[in-house]
């Protein structure tokens, strides 16, 4: 059997095979990237996880909210370090923003988080599946029981640029080499692996509906200036990709097969260099060392 791969690795490969080579195959250490968003991600992920674990179905909303705020403060102290920030003020501002996001998510008056906590079946749920001999795995942030089955949530800072019904057609373009859409391909990989993986979980029963959504906790933030300081607020909402997965099932699995086979066979030569140079290179951590990119510059 081939080695098991995560959506994240597959997506890296889909972004650029050479990127996968450097990041995973050769494990080249890139210069310090800013850790602050990474640590903030850990904070809200762990906060939601802890709140879901501690919450019973009949806990009242206020209790859940207060619990969330307490957990958040503890997690913030645990994971947020001044080293990530150039100033204490910047750190405090980020704390306020994240805190506002958690407060809004667990708003006793209709915050989505209240239901997410009450009906959570599992958090940080390890899922595995094998499709056509290709092993895959992933970790789902939260699995919620619904009337008709299960709903998996992946929590993010925001859902800007996440796969939508309007942009789903780009998946086919990516497969055909006509467009470069690694972020949306990644969303599709996540949806596929979690939906299929969930079907192997003990709490899955035949006939259950399995849904998948991204949830952007800080989809909308606002900054209000006052004579004594500033106020921030944040609000989040989900974006579901289940239907897109069903509609583009064949395309998505063809993409997964390509990436999986590429990684397994250690094929790291980028195919569509022009597209990748334009779309992926500008943000790549390895651009300064990559002969594939440098050769295009030198040729000029």
């Amino acid at each position: 059997m081939s080695s098991s791969l995560s959506p994240s690795r597959l997506a890296n490969y889909a972004t650029c095979p050479r990127l996968y080579d450097y990041r995973y195959a050769q494990d080249v250490n890139a210069p310090d990237r800013t850790e602050l968003y990474l640590n903030q991600g850990t904070i809200y992920h762990e906060t939601i996880e802890d709140v879901c674990t501690a919450t019973d179905r009949d806990d009242d909303a206020e209790t859940i909210h207060d619990r969330a705020m307490q957990v958040f403060e503890a997690k913030w102290d645990e994971h947020s370090t001044p080293d990530d920030y150039e100033s204490a003020a910047h750190q405090e501002y980020q704390r306020a923003e994240n805190r506002a996001a958690i407060a809004s998510f667990f708003d006793p008056d209709g915050g989505d988080g209240i239901e997410h906590a009450r009906f959570s079946a599992a958090t940080e749920c390890w899922v595995e599946c094998e499709v056509e001999g290709r092993a895959l795995h992933g970790k789902a942030d939260n699995v919620i029981r619904t009337e008709d089955g299960l709903h998996i949530f992946d929590y993010k800072r925001n859902t800007n640029g996440v796969l939508s019904s309007r942009t789903a057609e780009y998946l086919g373009d990516h497969l055909d080499g006509e467009a470069h859409e690694p972020k949306r391909v990644r969303n599709a990989f996540q949806t596929a692996v979690y939906v299929e993986g969930m079907k192997n979980e003990p709490f899955y029963e035949d006939g259950m509906e399995v849904r998948f959504s991204f949830y952007g906790l800080l989809n909308s933030t606002s900054f209000e200036s006052t004579p004594s300081g500033y106020d921030v607020s944040a609000r989040g909402w989900p974006r579901e990709t289940t239907e897109i997965y069903e509609e583009h099932y064949d395309t998505i699995w063809a993409l997964i097969r390509d990436a999986h086979d590429g990684i397994t066979s250690e094929t790291y030569e980028p195919d569509l260099l022009d597209l990748i140079t334009e779309e992926a290179c500008p943000d790549c951590d390895y651009r300064e060392m990559c002969p594939d990119r440098l050769s295009t510059e030198v040729q000029q």
Partner: protein
Amino acid sequence: MSDDAEYPSWYPVPEENVSPEPQQQTIIDSDAYPMRVLAGAGTGKTFTMVRKIEHLIDEEGVSPDRILALTFTNNAADSMREKLNAKLGTAGYDIDAYTYHSICNEILTDYAYEAGIDPDFEVATDAEKYAIVLDVLDEIEYRSVKPNVYGSDGYASGAASKLLNFIGSMKRSGITPDDIDAFLGPADRVYDLGDLPERIETIASDHLGGRSVSSVLDSLPDVRDELTAERDALGTNGIKASARDFLDRLIDVCDALETAFEAHDNGERDLPDNAYKLPKYLFGGYASGAPKGIPNNLDLELTDHLDSFVSDCLAARDLTAGYAAYEQELDERNLIDFDGLVVETATLMDSPIGEEIAERWDYVFCDEFQDTDRLQFDLVTSLVTDDNLFVVGDDDQAIYEWRGANVANITDELDRAFTALTDEPLEENFRSRQPILDLANEAIQKLDHRERHKTLTRVDEPAYDGDTVATVELPGEDDDADGASQLRTVVQNVLSGAADNLDEAYDPGDIAVLVRKNAHATPVIEEFEDAGIPYQVAGDLATESVGVGTVTAYLKALARPEDEVSWNRVLLMRYRLCDADLRTLNAGDEPLVDTLREAPLDEFEEPDRVAKARKHATELLELRDAASLSHLYRELKDVTNIEWYLSEQERRDLTQLDDVIDQYGESAVQPPLTPEFIDSLEHYDSLFDESGTTPTSQPDVADDAVNVMTIHKSKGLDFPVVLIPQITAEEWAPSSRTYDALETALSDGATAAFAQDFVERDARETRRVFHVGITRAEDILVLQGGSEEDDEAADEESVSERVDEILPARIPWQPERGHLPLWTDVQECLPGDAVDWTNTLAGQTIGDVGGSINHDGEEVAVETARDRVLTLATATLDGALSSRTEREVLRVASLTGPTIPSPSLSHSYTSLAAYEECPRSHYLEYVVNAFPDYQETTSNDGDGVSQRTIGLLFHDTAEQAANQGVECREEWYGICERLASQRRAEDALPAAKQCIDRYFELDLPGYEIIDAEREFELDIDGHELVGYIDAVYRTPDDDLLVIDYKATERHRDLQDDKQLPIYLLACRDLYDEPVTRAGYAYVGEIGPKVETRTFSDGDLEVVRNDVTESMHRIAEFSFSRYTAGEHCQWCQHNQLPCAPDSFTVGPGFEE
């Protein structure tokens, strides 16, 4: 640009042959002070100023040290000093020639005690300022300023960058944190005004929604009442006074509207259609811009001005605490920033000691006075005693108003400060051809509020047969909308000179592309890259240059050894490691740098390359913490020879990084390489994008590449050919800047905030920028532009005009402000003989551009040939090259072309000696000017100073000393030190001084020096032999003696020598008396000694015959003949197989 390639640009050459023109002479001879000279572009204002100073010293007997000369750039101050020195000898150096900033540095150092500062203070560098700003971020009182230090676009929009900009804006105008505190008051007071713009808009939308002129007219009194109530509720100090003044102006608008509408109702006045919507629109009553019927580009939502002023004030309220903390931090670190130098000095000059300081000088001369700011004006006036002030400048070239320069300094302010001012004009231009000046004269007429009118006229215009002013119409909306390929074609044509419309072919260094903004340069550079046109971008870090990227990566890797991306870059691009070896280094959990240093070499496929990388990395990492950044950088370049791997373009690109590193840390001891330096390098562009555009910095100009720079940077420079791209209303649109209104209110009083339109001000400046651009051109000016056709334009124009008639005088904002129809103006101002190059020289190349190449019997384009070579090379690498019986040869005309010696080949003693040693080395060095081979640097040359540098320094010192009649050792030292600092060759200074010491142990200093660095040209049998004689002395026996200085360790045999006889042959033409004696003066380590001998006529004839024979033989120069031997070790081409194997460092080349 100069034919005189022997002399670098800084070299002091006395302008003996240039005599002043009448206008200049009047100024030079005049003893009227104070005097102001408004001098147009290219009229020789600095020349005149220097001559006037000379005149004072030479003719009026003024002591040089009683004269203070001020200018903006170090280059200008140095060149002024050099020119005076060249003319006056050492006396020239006694003149205090300073920049406006360095004089402050000097005064503050001398009077530190009186100024209340530590005399050991240092000037803060950009990197230090940035570090301090990061340190004080927590002092900002975040209310409206977001605390983000960086955002999605990096640091540019973050708090650090906001604070840095704020401090810059305020400090340039001498505004202190206390001033701002006093103006704004506590936060509550500022926030009271926060809603005022919105309330005004509400008033407008509540009352002014009427559907006819008369119904709106009825509502206007209510609006006035409410605005008046708002006004009366405001205080009369600081920010409130500004807001109050704004409301006053709006009330005036109410009155004016009422008058106009009443007149309309009475049938006495015509109003534009939809005029009833105008009041609501003016006061901002429409939620989303102009309503239907009001032209969109009217741009007259007046309340917006208050709104942006208030938000600037809110931001200022937050940032002021950060500014105060920054000041305090500077103080604690004993630093003064650039702006602070002037602030502190102005304060000191205001104190009782000021007078004493001013008495140090009798005369003050000021250059580029239009660029001075308010503080500098005060400084200058406080330095002037007895009105002995001389000021030159050009108000038409004032382009730094946006950085705080006060144009009025050179006009009204000067009038006010000195009632007895004498004005002299300088309008005779020595630079540009008359049609260029005609255009410049015409176009500047469009400048509103132009105080003084000058008309530039060319004098002594040389003959010229070609187009002078050419326009190129930008293509429409197709692929080449930025028109860059047009400019590429123009440059190609100008370089080839084949077109009939051109008088001659120009060199790349003759051409400049001057841009309004950096974005205009990018597409042009890309085209130049494609076409292989060499270029240099002034003041640009060239971060996109691959070669610079590799050098920077090396620094990054050394600063942060855990940065494996940078190591990989270096290993790939400098050491050319193969993929397998890179994978070996990257494998495993060990950090790459450890593997590089420790892994057994036999694990690698190319162990030699890895070993070399290991050696260099280890050496440099050890050096890192102990050495200064500059030293480490120099070692990096020496040890790794990394520059050899760069293309010529990349080496040009690298000079900017050289400069940044040189200037990093101005303290006596430069800090070592740190991660902070790397950070500052990365933020260089976003944080200090203005540093290249201050009046205080002037870029170095390339003489072998097309110069690309902003017009701001081109000030004071000139080029035979100037191209100005993308002249359109949109691309040149003026704008206002953050804190404009606040800064003005703080400088000129609260009611000044809304007294002028800053966009209009910028529009005027934009016209002056254009003027500066035009007047850089000597022979050819190419203007590329276009204007958008607008069908509604005529309609809108009439609306604008009529609205303008209604608005009261106290409203500074005009309709369509910010619309600068520059291209339309150009068309109107074009001189009669201007030509349109759109379809000619910008449309197609004429003649052979880039040469032709023959391959396989067919003539192919350069690109095609290049592709074929690449395909063949790839095939070789892949082992897929098919063997053919016939040999294919690429013939490049410019390389294989005519085999007869080029007529310009001239000989010198050194070139002949080279030929004697080895014809091949002569061919490579003197005939084809070949690229030197890769050379392993010898690490045993100790301090890394080349003998050549030391020798040059000594020779040039000796020459200057001779020309100035300097006879004592200390003065020689002085010259030598100055030269070393100009060349950044301080390293060579101690050795050069030792040479001077040895020289002074000889008898020579006691002899009379007749000539130094005397150039000669011998014609022998039709061959040209040229050279320089180091020195000719008159001995105490009244004989002439030719001396050649030798600072090297090599001893010469006088018997077989040819150099000295050649000099003596040359002397036959140079001197009336016979010269028979010549020798070497050894001032290097084998000295001091002088060895001379006498040469008879017979000796000279023998040498003459030898030399003639050599020169005949060289006529058949060729690559194929060579002689190997000892001399190969010094040969720049000893990696060729002709050299003994011992000199080969790499795999070597094969023929």
